[in-house]
Symmetry: C2
Subunit: 297 residues, 2 copies
């Protein structure tokens, strides 16, 4: 199904499947918009931690054994927002097997999948289990932020419900944007654009990581992205909501970590985004952030 961006796929899944009190498992941290979306259906949102290899599927399994009954598990396996990590191949297999065994639907958000710096990706969850996964994608991160063009792929019975829900949501995705996409595809511009984007973001990311290495105080740690837009910086004992406020006064935009959890955790972390910022301003931004942290220490 063609959608008006990936967020609409979440909306339609929620509209079709969620009742108040249903349990949705998300990665902790996860995409803020997903938390808001599932909340709008009065779902109970449970965050399962991730680490450098993505969602801790063993922890998810333990919670299921202890009685957790997820209806949906929402995951961003590739270059996750906000953590910048990628779910390992082994964990992908475990996750879809858990879905089959325990009868939940996985919603796989592939917004950053095509933005791996190496240009390759691990098998998608949908490719591993087309019977148990709804994949939601978007062109907003790769091609057309202003067109609102995405897609959802799902098992036939799920897709039928999403299509019915879309009728009363916005009826259909814009045909004009779809024609644009078709024409870009035909001319080979999509592959060109992706190659250029990957190279650009890889440079920006390398710059960010070097700047962090050079200036962060002892105890700080951060993820090493291999694609996407984000690194997740953890600053033990720092109140990052206050830090973000002071950073923005110095024209440095960071997002406090607690916004990416449904339960108030993440207060000692921030999302660093290297996508929009001018390449030459990365060093200066991190230097200003480091100065704030040294002041504070």
């Amino acid at each position: 199904m063609i959608t008006s961006g990936a967020i609409e796929a979440l909306e339609l899944v929620g509209k079709s499947f969620l009742d108040a009190g249903d349990v949705v498992v998300v990665e902790g941290p996860t995409y803020l918009g997903a938390i808001q979306s599932f909340r709008s259906f009065e779902a109970t949102i449970e965050a399962v931690p991730l680490d450098g290899d993505g969602l801790q599927v063993d922890e998810l399994e333990r919670r299921i054994e202890r009685g957790l009954r997820p209806k949906l598990v929402y995951a961003i396996p590739d270059h996750q927002n906000p953590a910048g990590v990628t779910l390992s191949a082994e964990r992908r297999t475990v996750l879809v097997e858990l879905a089959r065994t325990h009868g939940f639907l996985v919603v796989e958000d592939v917004a950053y999948r095509e933005l791996g710096f190496a240009g390759q990706a691990l098998p998608s969850l949908w490719s591993l289990a087309p019977d148990a996964v709804v994949q939601a994608g978007t062109t907003s991160k790769t091609l057309f932020p202003g067109v609102r063009l995405g897609w959802a792929v799902a098992p036939p019975d799920v897709a039928a419900r999403l299509v019915a829900a879309k009728q009363t949501t916005d009826q259909c995705a814009g045909a004009f944007g779809q024609r644009l996409f078709e024409e870009f595809q035909r001319r080979g511009w999509i592959d060109e654009q992706l190659a250029a984007s990957r190279a650009l973001y890889e440079r920006k990311c390398a710059r960010l990581l070097a700047a962090l290495e050079a200036s962060m105080p002892a105890g700080a740690r951060w993820t090493t992205p291999h694609g996407g837009f984000f690194s997740w910086l953890t600053l033990p004992n720092v109140d990052t909501t206050e830090l973000a406020q002071r950073a923005v006064e110095r024209s440095v935009g960071i997002v406090p970590g607690s916004l990416f959890f449904p339960d108030g955790r993440g207060a000692d972390s921030v999302r660093l985004s290297f996508s929009l910022v001018d390449e030459n301003q990365v060093d200066e931004g991190i230097a200003r952030l480091a100065a704030l942290l040294h002041l504070e220490a």
Copy 2:
């Protein structure tokens, strides 16, 4: 608020205001998509009849006096879908006063408002009562069917709720379509297009009305549109669901009337649309329909 078509405004109003069992009053007949949208929120939908002057506001008032408590009243005051009638100036005043007195919100769908053959329109409900009306509009009928670009205007507290609901629905309307609109506006193309559309649809409508006059059986009656896309044909004692089926076998598309009511009424009526059909095929279409009716009689 800029929306992805008018249907999204209905979705957002429903999401923001409707709980299961809430009463929504619609015109009988009304836009099928609105019935589906309000139904998706498990609202109780009550159709109040319309006549040649639009919604019978005195009947609405009587029902309120007898205990009906609408949360929303959904109306298409101009060149209504599917009836092709326009709400009179007097009734507009009564309707918004009822809204103020009884505390319901009016949702005014202006999809066809700019397509009056004379190029003019009565005061919109929103202009009469910006405190009690959400106006939902779209460019799909006038300019860009493939762009999904519409708008909602609402009292500030209502608009704030719609904007919040849109965050998790599709986040924002496409910027590219908005730029297109801006450019069309700047070049004067919108006014040109509207003038051309009005003239085209007026010719098609005249052709339709003449064909009906020439060939419909005794007892048939139909509305006389002054804009928009539709005339509403009533055929006493005819089962129009069956008629529509037989008509489509002869390549004539009509929509059976019961689809435009929430309660199964309208079985003796059909919507005739003169918008898409080639001007020169109107006569032939009505002739085929008349032949079916004469066969049946």
